[in-house]
């Protein structure tokens, strides 16, 4: 499914893409994408190569759209130094001024963000505490573990106290403790009125942080909204319903006669079947009658589409 326009609330829109395309020569990075994002945390989901980083680079003014318009706070981000005062970016690339210590790196970023010497020092102390790096602040960045580097990288995005945060895979390489701490921090930033666009290809990271998600694939916006809205979007397409049963072949042969069942899959592991239907309402209505028939034992039923992973896979592969 391709839904290339997503209308958010115009009044609270902070980030806006209007029919934006971005080409790299013959390769398309973002394809005719329209999107409005307001305050709070929004998850940007998509497989590798979906165009998530291109989208973030467009929104932070590092790239210029080939077509269409990008606006943040109503302003074009390309080459817009004044806007950058309100933007923080945690880039995906694992790059630093390696010779610096973590503290020196943050101080440099705070100065670049326009903070004076004292304000920079205070901000850095606060940020080091926030990202849990106070103890390791005076070690050289090149000696940091991947998790520490991610924490410092997130810290540099926060150091100018930005209103909008773009976080490109900020949890990559972090251990479970760091992951939990950083996710709590990101969630708090969103709940304090900041706009956070957070890219990931790990679904459970996003779904525990926010119900608002943007799905991208091959440069296109596949879907936008919360999980329920996305579920609504795919109502026109077959729902996948899993039925756990000891006699999967017998059940499959009975269901194959139903008009609304458009596909049946028997997993190799056995013990269940997966059916596809265009009319889940009717299917669920008829199912109890079938379950009461002799020799038809159905142990468990659940919609595969309730799982965000399944929704995601479904949307990006359809």
């Amino acid at each position: 499914m391709d839904i290339n326009e997503s209308e958010g609330d115009v009044e609270t829109t902070v980030i806006e893409f209007q029919a934006v395309s971005k080409w790299y020569g013959q390769v398309i990075g973002v394809n005719n994408l329209s999107l409005r994002i307001g305050p709070g945390v929004t998850g940007l989901l998509g497989p590798n190569g979906a165009g998530k980083s291109t989208l973030l680079q467009l929104a932070t003014g590092q790239l210029r759209p080939s077509r269409g318009e990008v606006r943040v706070f109503g302003r074009r981000p390309w080459n817009n130094a004044a806007l950058n005062r309100h933007i923080g970016l945690c880039p995906e690339q694992d790059a630093f001024f390696e010779w610096m210590t973590g503290r020196r790196f943050l101080l440099a970023c705070a100065s670049l963000a326009g903070l004076g010497r004292r304000a920079a020092r205070e901000a850095v102390d606060r940020i080091l505490e926030m990202v849990g790096m106070t103890r390791n602040a005076n070690r050289a960045v090149r000696g940091y573990s991947k998790g520490m580097r991610q924490r410092i990288k997130l810290g540099q995005a926060l150091v100018g106290d930005p209103r909008v945060l773009f976080l490109d895979e900020p949890l990559t390489g972090t251990d479970p403790v760091a992951r939990h701490e950083l996710m709590t921090l990101i969630g708090e930033l969103g709940s304090h009125g900041r706009t956070v666009l957070f890219s990931s290809h790990v679904l459970h990271e996003v779904q525990t942080l926010t119900p608002k998600i943007v799905l991208m694939n091959r440069g296109r916006l596949v879907a936008f909204g919360d999980v329920r809205q996305i579920r609504d979007l795919i109502d026109a397409h077959p729902h996948r319903i899993v039925l756990k049963c000891p006699d999967s072949r017998g059940l499959a042969s009975k269901l194959a006669r139903w008009d609304d069942v458009v596909g049946i899959e028997i997993p190799r592991a056995g013990g269940s079947i997966v059916i596809e239907t265009h009319d889940p309402g009717q299917f669920y209505q008829r199912l109890p009658r079938l379950a009461r028939e002799p020799g038809t034992l159905i142990e468990e039923i659940y919609s595969d589409d309730d799982n965000l992973e399944a929704v995601f896979k479904y949307l990006v592969t359809s």
Partner: protein, 286 residues
């Protein structure tokens, strides 16, 4: 969403007031760009190559001076300073620093940290170019002055004051040359990834060959104007470079050309930098 995982949206706080978009980049921000640029230039293998470029000829000169019974200080200075340094070492050293001013940040993917800050792009480039020129000219002028002193130290009839004054003029000439070359090669570094090879080609064809041909084209070379200034300020012999003083530009014109060319190429580089996209290739490889 997994069947048992519930999304728990956090309570939203009242929206923040609209942001203001006023303010200029602070001096500390520009000083940080300068500091990071200088730190990067003074690290790694580049600085050792730079030192080798300057120290090796001087060491050779000292060796010759020590072993040559018929050592001539003026001729040694001419060869080491006005042939070797001016033709090769100074443009190469400037190329070494300037070509990587932006390329290093692009290759190491650290340019993002500058581009996402409230500093106009053109200003980032100007500060980087000035930083590159400052570092390169400070080092080059010190080593060139030392080379001059090594050549002429102990010459009969020359006192320390004369040496210091001459060293100062040499340092000024070298700084002017480095500034102009950094400005040119900085632009080159923005235009091609092969800035080093293109730069060496430019030095050989333009600066060395054209400047030696007594024709109008020599006026567009940096080395010609450095020679004119060297003749005027250090009393060198114009015949050594086939320069006719009656036709050559005046020293003030040459000075203006060098400073004007530096300003022009830095401005051109700033324009290229502010209009060019620097795409960061992510591990995604999108």
């Amino acid at each position: 969403m997994s069947r048992d995982a519930a999304v728990s949206p956090r309570p939203a706080s009242p929206p923040l007031p609209p942001p203001s978009f006023s303010g200029r980049p602070t001096l500390s921000a520009l000083a940080t760009v300068l500091g990071i640029t200088a730190s990067r230039l003074l690290r790694g293998r580049r600085i050792w190559l730079f030192l080798l470029l300057f120290v090796a000829p001087t060491a050779l000169l000292l060796l010759v001076r020590h072993n040559d019974a018929h050592y001539e200080a003026e001729e040694a200075e001419r060869v080491i300073l006005f042939v070797l340094f001016f033709h090769a070492v100074i443009p190469l050293a400037a190329l070494l620093f300037a070509a990587s001013l932006v390329q290093d940040d692009v290759e190491e993917q650290t340019l993002t940290y500058f581009l996402i800050r409230p500093i106009p792009r053109w200003m980032i480039y100007v500060v980087k170019a000035v930083g590159g020129a400052l570092v390169a000219s400070a080092l080059a002028s010190v080593f060139a002055a030392l080379a001059m002193v090594a050549a002429r130290w102990g010459e009969p009839g020359r006192d320390v004051d004369w040496l210091l004054q001459r060293a100062g003029i040499v340092a000024a000439l070298v700084s002017l040359g480095v500034l102009a070359y950094v400005a040119i090669f900085g632009c080159l570094g923005l235009l091609t990834k092969r800035a080093l090879s293109v730069g060496i080609f430019y030095i050989l064809v333009f600066e060395v060959s054209l400047a030696n041909i007594p024709f109008l084209l020599r006026y567009v070379t940096i080395i010609h104007h450095l020679r004119v200034l060297s003749i005027a300020w250090l009393g060198l012999n114009p015949a050594d470079w086939a320069i006719d003083l009656a036709e050559a530009p005046s020293p003030s014109t040459s000075l203006e050309v060098l400073l004007g060319a530096s300003a022009f190429f830095i401005a051109l580089g700033a324009w290229i930098f502010s209009t060019r996209e620097f795409r960061v290739k992510t591990p995604e490889g999108n």
